[in-house]
């Protein structure tokens, strides 16, 4: 099977002021895969994710060299708004806006110019169904999203991202604040979304990476130590540092 490359980084180097977060990253992300990124804190995982949709630039001290190629184009040539519509992100803590469930999801379509009520309604329902949340909230779409449980909020965030029809979804430790049952539901949603989306999952939880990802990369101190099929990475890693991390000898 020849997989199509969706994202490719070439000599990517990311820094915040004087601190280098990612040293020299060359890697590829294939379409419709769930790529896991594991590694200890401060290894550059989140920086990598936020580099892909240029959210890092919200920090004024951020600078970057090298290239990120998305669907064949250098992302420097794509404007922020278009890029972020195509590459959605789910943050570590469920971040809902203190407005209704419906309005949370309708926000994305609204800023992209979709205002017709019947269309927005369809988008909201469709997104909630894809995120496995529809059945739980369909009767209370107008209540505040802040009333939902943590797991529901995180799935709402996924639905909100889906509503702008991205190609790629980034997850930044999406289950770090969730209980095991909510985590399972989020993971179910991810597996289901595989059909239509490319997904990158940054996680602190190596078990989660083993459960849901097909390929997995190990980051350490701003370097990609190893990237391989998840099965191989977890059973027979090539680098000793990977082995040490996975078996819990450090980190």
């Amino acid at each position: 099977m020849v997989a199509e490359v969706v994202i490719k980084t070439v000599s990517l180097k990311c820094s915040f002021a004087e601190t280098t977060a990612i040293k020299n990253l060359n890697m590829e992300v294939y379409s419709n895969e769930i790529l896991g990124i594991i590694g200890p804190a401060n290894s550059g995982k989140t920086t990598f994710l936020r580099a892909l949709n240029r959210l890092n630039y919200l920090n004024v001290s951020y600078s970057q060299t090298g290239e990120i190629i998305f669907e064949g184009r250098d992302i420097k040539q794509i404007n922020d708004s278009t890029l972020r519509k195509k590459i959605g992100i789910i943050f570590a803590l469920p971040q809902v806006l203190p407005i209704s469930i419906f309005d949370n999801i309708a926000y994305g379509p609204k800023v992209h110019g979709i205002t017709k009520k019947s269309v927005v309604k369809g988008i909201v329902e469709n997104a909630l169904q894809k995120a496995y949340l529809w059945d739980e909230v369909k009767d209370r779409l107008s209540t505040s999203a802040t009333r939902l449980s943590g797991g529901q909020q995180q799935r709402l965030c996924i639905a909100r991202t889906l509503a702008v029809e991205p190609d790629v979804i980034l997850y930044d430790e999406p289950c770090s604040g969730l209980d095991p049952i909510s985590t399972a539901k989020v993971e179910d949603a991810m597996r289901e979304l595989k059909k239509n989306y490319t997904q990158i999952l940054v996680t602190n939880n190596t078990k989660q990476a083993a459960r849901v990802t097909e390929r997995c990369g190990f980051f350490l101190m701003g370097e990609l130590v190893e990237i391989d099929e998840t099965k191989k990475l977890f059973t027979n890693p090539e680098d000793k540092r990977t082995d040490d991390y996975i078996t819990g000898r450090f980190g």
Binding site: R84, Q95, Y107, V111
Partner: protein, 289 residues
């Protein structure tokens, strides 16, 4: 065990003493305000009649009402609002959301804070020079409103700035991450959440503008003008100046009329604050976080 119990008791006694002292100090601060209002009501409430509110002053201002001054003050509040709200809110948005954090921006922010400490008579002289003399607006509603607006700008800007900054950064990130532009983010994800704070600040500054005498002294206020203004280039009477005039310039003025005028001014300010409280509650209910 006994020793421990005793220790707990001293801690509790200390706490009680601290609370009592704090409570007394608070009372000390509130008392003068309450006494002033009670004193004014006692001496002036009897004079606040329908006739007093709706008629022009007569007989050297010793009789009749203060209708033109009430209208004048309301016009000045609206005029001030018209200039200071858009200018103040927009420049605060620029300072918080767009301006780069450099020496120049910091200098501007510092100046804005310091401007709110300038005595109002200085604003009055500035307004007189610029609007009345140089721009030739004459002593007029336009000149007075502009002067009051400039005086209230620092407070409007500071309040708006703080309201914008208090909106969690995550709201902006959510919006931007969904592909919204910066302006869309500000418009839909920041401003709606800062409205309560902006309201509080602007109403506070407008209340102050409503009660100021010095800035309108040379720019708009009329000593005695029993008719209503016809254009923005007319003068008007205003409550604070009228109060000053009848309290100091008119001999044998019945004191109750001064107190009544003061009461009406306080009532007007109270009314504005009431509206802002209601609006604020309305917005908070819609968007809680």
């Amino acid at each position: 065990m006994l020793a421990k119990g005793e220790k707990m008791n001293t801690a509790r006694i200390r706490e009680k003493v601290a609370f009592t002292v704090l409570g007394l100090i608070t009372l000390l601060v509130v008392l003068p305000i309450v006494l002033t209002i009670v004193y004014m009501i006692k001496n002036g409430a009897g004079a606040v009649t329908w006739e007093f509110l709706t008629q022009s002053p007569r007989n050297g201002m010793k009789e009749g009402g203060i209708f033109p001054a009430i209208v004048g003050t309301i016009i000045l509040i609206i005029g001030t609002m018209l200039f200071s709200l858009p200018l103040g809110i927009l420049s605060a948005i620029y300072l918080v959301e767009y301006a780069k954090d450099n020496l120049f921006t910091r200098l501007i922010k510092l100046s804005v804070v310091n401007l709110s400490g300038i005595p109002s008579i200085v604003y009055g002289l500035f307004g007189f020079t610029l609007f009345v003399m140089v721009l030739k607006f004459g002593t007029s509603i336009l000149a007075g409103s502009l002067t009051l607006a400039i005086m209230s700008l620092p407070v409007v800007i500071t309040a708006t700035k703080e309201a914008l900054e208090s909106v969690p950064a995550s709201f902006r990130e959510i919006s931007l991450s969904l592909g919204a532009t910066k302006w869309q983010t500000i418009r839909y994800c920041v401003l709606p959440y800062s409205i309560p704070g902006i309201l509080t600040g602007t109403v506070l500054s407008l209340s102050r503008a409503a009660g100021e005498t010095a800035p309108i002294l040379f720019t708009v206020a009329a000593f005695y003008l029993p008719r209503l203004p016809r254009s923005v280039f007319d003068q008007v009477m205003a409550l604070p100046y009228h109060l000053y005039v009848i309290s100091t310039q008119v001999p044998n003025m019945p004191a109750k009329l001064s107190f009544a005028t003061g009461l009406v001014l306080i009532g007007l300010v109270f009314l504005m604050n009431l509206v802002s409280i209601i609006l604020r509650a309305h917005y908070r209910k819609k968007r809680q976080w």
